[in-house]
Symmetry: C2
């Protein structure tokens, strides 16, 4: 058990926790809490840390934990004795509190390897890497891509990942100035979808949209000035949706890349929808059309 | 201008700001910021307060403000000289900072009268009171109701109000243990829809659902065990959707009140959707069916 913050591992962990650049250079990110840790594909766990009190508590009630977290057993070894032998490091509670990013640490912290994705992953043509399966079945799918332009709210981005997985989107493309997916609040609100939905950041969003079009994908921009309602278009073939910034919508130079502007009809005096809501309405319309 | 926190008005304002019960007894709530203040129906403003620096700034650039906030002119009189004569109270910046609920006060705070709604309002059969018009047109609508069971997240509730207005829902019914609509974070995230979408809290959710059914409305529960997909049902007649708590879903005693359990088909390993996303998918399906 590590009881001192001057331990070399703890120093490195603090550096990773504090500096985005350090995490990026190491190709890792940090995940906290037993719920989220249970979602990590085991082969991507670089290092697992648990607090002393978590270790004691869970060791004595391994069965309860297994019930509470359902599939947790896949992600976190529940026998903490074997964990500490097998690689998880136990930290004294004060040391754990020091390395945790949260006010009320939950006793589990993992350093996780980042996964690099290619455009082929985003389009869903690389089923080996895609994790979007249910009950072990991988259904072949037409590309269904969400393109985010300067999205800023961490909760929105997390919710969009979660919704994208459920709606069967094949992947996400984000402009470099979107909020960082590795922001702890984003990670939490993905509810684990961040481990399963392919994504990539790009410095050149118009260029990436050009690649989509070259791959035969029809690109729709959700826009207040769209001519057709979103449900008047056909999404059974490969499709992509451009979603803009919360306050300002899509940038003009991104909008012009679309094949077609669509609008989500709105009643009342609302001027716009929340970005995650707009994305959800569009992505589930794809699912609806492809099912029927 | 008020410069002392021992002023009687300021004492009363602090009491309202701090105590939910005081606000409830007075039948008011508090709205902050110029953006939200501009959404308040003028006849419901009990009292408007502005900070000294806001008054000075906006007085000298009334035209800019009118551009920046668009329809703001309806809600906030922009000539602050006439405002202070006409009823708005100017507070010194330190006093304003004291009464504000936010870390960086925006200089506008309104005490707003609560609006009581009846079941007839929720069903949209009382067009005089409904504010859900666009361009002055009131379209006659079949009832389209959202019923929230123990919803806890302020951001979710605000987003649901905003989405409900845009999707053309006629009203919301909330169990008493839902998060308080008058919570400042909820108010903000409604983007003004709280002033326009009828709602009521009830101690007896099953009883309220019974009233909906007696009014000929078909009641659907969004449920993981639903038999039909949500898009296989017909929402052209009066309809209501039951949406449950973020972590636990619908309570059994509420679920059994539904005429029909429906599910939103999900791919991947996601276990559930965010409550506001689920509500959005269902409400926009109603709009889609009613348009086509």
């Amino acid at each position: 058990m590590i009881t001192s913050t001057s331990n070399a591992q703890i120093k490195e962990l603090l550096r990773l926790q504090k500096k985005g650049r350090a995490r990026e250079e190491a190709g890792v990110f940090i995940v906290e809490g037993p719920r989220m840790a249970a979602e990590i594909p085991p082969e991507r766990i670089v290092k697992l840390y648990v607090s002393e009190s978590y270790a004691k508590r869970e060791h004595t009630s391994a069965v309860d934990v297994s019930c509470r977290y359902g599939k947790a057993s896949a992600g976190i070894p529940l026998n903490l004795e074997s964990v500490s032998l097998g690689g998880a490091e136990v930290l004294s509670d004060p040391v754990f509190a020091r390395v945790s990013d949260t006010k009320t640490p939950q006793g589990v912290l993992a350093v996780v390897r980042r996964q690099e994705y290619t455009m082929a992953d985003i389009l869903g043509v690389n089923p080996d890497k895609g994790e979007n399966t249910r009950g072990g079945q991988q259904t072949s799918r037409e590309p269904h891509v969400l393109v985010l332009d300067n999205l800023q709210d961490p909760g929105n981005l997390g919710t969009i990942f979660r919704t994208a997985e459920a709606a069967g989107a094949t992947g996400l493309i984000l402009s470099r100035d979107c909020v960082d997916i590795y922001n702890p609040k984003v990670i939490r609100s993905t509810m684990g979808a961040v481990f399963r939905v392919p994504f990539l950041y790009t410095d050149d969003l118009p260029g990436a949209i050009g690649e989509l079009k070259a791959a035969g994908i029809r690109v729709f921009a959700a826009h207040l000035e769209g001519e057709n309602a979103y449900d008047e278009e056909d999404y059974c073939g490969g499709c992509a949706f451009l979603i803009g910034n919360e306050g300002n919508g899509l940038r003009d130079e991104v909008t012009v890349c679309a094949d077609c502007l669509i609008r989500i009809p709105m009643q009342g005096q609302t001027e716009s929808l929340n970005a995650a809501v707009a994305a959800a309405v569009l992505m589930f319309e794809v699912g609806r059309q492809r099912r029927s």
